[in-house]
């Protein structure tokens, strides 16, 4: 009986609490799982070096994060959305319709995408054309588009090892897939002349370039890189697509393939020699600056040389430092909202 009374009292107390809004004193961040490791490194260092509490960083995907950012203004909405792809006009429209008018775009650096296989297996040197010819549904053969029948990498390019084609690529919900489509498949499509053929056949946007074969040679991985690594561990013949930082943490299990003769590293990506990289961003709701304690300090700390510079902890973890970091620092200090997308 007493326990029952106590529980009833607790129920009343908790509903009473529910009525009053509690002021939030920590920064709330959500978004890309690619940016998550960097954001958590910065959040941790921020909590250690400032008197503000450590920000809470959620993952869940770039698109979901931007949508959450655009839910509105107020303490129950997040302050920052991490994103591995640029914000879309639809997000900006959604934001505007919910009263989120000023958004700051902060580019934190570049992320390289690498192709890696089991450390004890064959060594690969790819070009985008190899990947297109290995994975696309239709490829060019003797000047005509035909169904892809390549079975081994040697079928694709005699210089490659005679090993069955099996590729673990990120699933379509990943931001990484967009980069893979654009910088690898479309580049390969163009290089092999397939793009011309698609356009000639009436496919105006050459959408056939990113249509993949469905006979099991290419496998979509909807999980994260740890899943790709586990699959490669079980299937030594496979080649996986990883983020550079993930590869750098697992160099004892993976060997990386060169792309067009360039070895991926933070240096070769920064110089633009290594072709497959993408910028990483976070988006800040300007209306929350000055309301949520520490928000301005956090974004300034994030883009400071100590953190995002070439010798900072983010670069050590695999982020390619942005050569135009000084510009970003200036924009952040002035709280410059982003210009309309062009």
């Amino acid at each position: 009986m007493n326990a029952l009374k106590f529980a009833a009292a607790a129920l009343v107390a908790s509903t009473a609490f529910a009525g009053t809004a509690i002021a939030r004193d920590q920064i709330q961040i959500a978004g890309s799982s690619t940016v998550l490791p960097y954001a958590s490194i910065v959040a941790e260092a921020f909590g250690e070096n400032f008197s503000f509490p450590t920000p809470v960083v959620e993952s869940g995907g770039s698109g979901a994060g931007r949508k959450k950012l655009c839910e509105g203004v107020g303490e129950n909405t997040i302050d920052i959305a991490n994103s591995s792809s640029r914000i879309k006009q639809s997000d900006i429209d959604l934001c505007a319709s919910n009263g989120v008018t000023e958004i700051q775009e902060v580019r934190i650096g570049y992320d390289g995408i690498v192709f890696a296989s089991d450390i004890n297996g064959e060594t690969f040197a790819f070009t985008p054309a190899d990947w297109y010819n290995a994975l696309a549904a239709k490829v060019m053969k003797d000047g005509a588009l035909v169904d892809n029948t390549a079975r081994t990498w040697a079928d694709v390019n005699p210089d490659l090892p005679d090993q069955d084609i099996l590729a673990f690529i990120p699933g379509t919900k990943h931001g990484t897939r967009e980069v893979f489509d654009e910088k690898v498949l479309e580049a390969g499509c163009e290089a092999t002349g397939a793009e011309e053929a698609f356009k000639a056949a009436g496919d105006e946007k050459a959408e056939g370039c990113i249509a993949l074969r469905t006979d099991g040679a290419s496998v979509d991985i909807d999980g994260d890189y740890t899943e790709t690594l586990a699959r490669i561990d079980a299937n030594k013949n496979a080649i996986g697509v990883f983020g550079l930082s993930f590869y750098e943490n697992n160099t004892d299990k993976l060997q990386v393939a060169t792309m067009s003769g360039v070895n991926p590293s933070t240096e070769s990506i920064a110089s633009g020699e290594y072709p497959i990289s993408r910028p990483l961003y976070f988006y800040v709701k300007n209306a929350h600056l000055g309301v949520i304690p520490g928000l301005q300090e956090y974004i300034e700390f994030f883009v400071s040389d100590e953190i995002a510079g070439p010798d900072g902890p983010l670069a050590a973890y695999g982020l390619v430092s942005d050569p135009e970091l000084a510009k970003t620092q200036e924009k952040v200090a002035n709280r410059t909202p982003m210009a309309p997308l062009n």
Binding site: L11, A13, S14, A18, R24, E44, E58, N76
Partner: protein, 452 residues
């Protein structure tokens, strides 16, 4: 069925009398089918035991090592020239010390310690030697300096975490061969670690901080712990217990003892049974829509998690409570009513106490189910990197927190293999909690259950 058909056959015309000692073909067939069934049953049990053993071995072999941790013990000189340039020891100035200024102090301290002990390994300089020590160490020192500013200018003995790769070396995860290929550690650094160990500066101990420390970022797996997750899970369980038990019991008593038996109660009954089978993510969607967007409760907070899990646990508790109430013989209630007790007195004084063990068992099983739930927490922002401990309840219910299964999920996604070990360790902790809860449920039932 077989018996009756056998009888009809026998009645139709028995060919000749046979001795009972002589086993007929029919009997043999029946025995054989029984043996087959037994074998299949046994095979099913053996299969499940093998699967369980496989799971346990994989988790234990991967995770037990997370309960040990490697530490480096050494003296660090808290250089006033670096830490307190103005020499006034004022808290405002000290608060500006960053972990970046402290890092060189550790580097110097390690280099000096190595020199004093005559430890040197070819190919390792002061800069690479300090990579043996966790990146958590500067934060630990900064915290210490801010708490004890009077010790600036003195040498203080610190116990610092060794880096994840070094820790992995003493757990067999990192070997000389793998280190040769690894960009984050070199065989020379491992040799240095061995030398430090021989000199007594480096040792492995039980890892208490695994249970108390908060989560850590990807660069320092060695510092990651379950503290925030355990607190968050505990808070949520408190909320679930405080809400689901009284509501569930009250609803069951009403439905079982007071409600008229009509279509409405049938409908409610069907719905409760249905809710018990609804996928838990649905409750997460509900929680996001109602508790966060409509009521305006904070994100990532145990209060929202607790409310969502309460909704999820209620059907389980109601079903278990109703079964327990039904199991109490009606004669007891009738006797109470017969000597003039009111219906409420009869229920609260006689039926409920007798049903209590069953109710508690159902509640604990419901709680255990809620403890292991991740999906509904995904949508309310609890699947997150949270480093601050939530405050003491009740305010702490509104602070961001993590939960045990969430921590497992988060750690399995990280790039550094050391987090895989931590995740397995977290699974062990979660399993231990579940085993304890279920054991308590069984003990309660054994101790207090009455059969009629």
């Amino acid at each position: 069925m077989t018996d009756t058909s056998a009888d009809t056959v026998a009645a139709a015309g028995r060919p000749k009398a046979r001795s009972l000692y002589q086993v007929s073909a029919r009997t043999r067939k029946r025995h054989a089918s029984e043996t087959r069934f037994r074998m299949m049953g046994l095979a099913a049990v053996i299969f499940s035991i093998i699967a369980l053993l496989g799971l346990m071995t994989s988790i234990l072999s991967n995770g037990l090592s997370s309960f040990k941790q490697t530490y480096v013990t050494m003296e660090v000189f808290l250089d006033p020239a670096k830490l307190d340039k103005k020499g006034n020891r004022s808290p405002e100035d000290l608060a500006k010390i960053t972990t970046f200024t402290i890092q060189p102090l550790i580097q110097t301290a390690l280099a000096e310690t190595m020199e004093a002990r005559g430890i040197a390994v070819e190919g390792v300089n002061a800069k690479t030697a300090v990579e043996l020590i966790s990146k958590e160490a500067p934060a630990q020192l900064r915290h210490f300096v801010l708490a004890n500013p009077e010790l600036i200018g003195q040498s203080v003995r610190f116990e610092l975490l060794a880096s994840g790769r070094i820790d992995g070396y003493y757990k067999g995860r990192v070997t000389m061969e793998s280190a040769a290929l690894d960009r984050n550690i070199s065989p020379e650094q491992l040799t240095l670690a061995d030398e430090l160990k021989a000199a007594g500066l480096l040792e492995s101990r039980f890892n208490w901080s695994f249970f108390t420390a908060p989560d850590a970022s990807d660069t320092r797996p060695e510092a990651a712990g379950l503290g925030v997750a355990i607190l968050g899970s505990a808070y949520m369980m408190l909320i679930v217990l405080a809400l689901a038990l009284p509501i569930g019991v009250a609803a069951s008593i009403y439905l079982e003892e007071f409600a008229p038996q009509n279509r409405w109660t049938d409908l409610i009954e069907v719905n409760i049974a249905n809710l018990a089978a609804v996928p838990s993510i649905v409750f997460g969607i509900l929680g996001l829509a109602i508790f966060i967007n409509f009521v305006g409760l904070p994100q990532s907070a145990p209060i929202v998690g607790g409310l969502v899990l309460t909704l999820m646990t209620l059907p389980t508790i109601i079903i278990a409570t109703r079964a327990a109430l039904k199991a109490v013989p009606p004669s007891i209630k009738d006797a109470a009513l017969g000597i003039g007790a009111s219906k409420m007195q009869a229920i609260f004084h006689h039926v409920l106490p007798l049903a209590a063990p069953g109710i508690l068992t159902g509640t604990i099983i419901g709680l255990a189910q809620a403890l292991g739930e991740t999906a509904p927490l995904l949508l309310i922002g609890m699947v997150a990197f949270v480093r601050e401990y939530p405050g003491a309840p009740p305010e702490g219910f509104f602070d961001p927190a993590s939960a045990l299964p969430v921590q497992v999920y988060n750690w399995t996604q990280r790039g550094d293999p050391a987090f895989f070990e931590r995740a397995s360790g977290a699974i062990i902790v979660l399993l231990v909690f579940l085993v304890i809860m279920n054991t308590v449920a069984i003990l309660l039932r054994r101790r207090f259950e009455r059969r009629w």
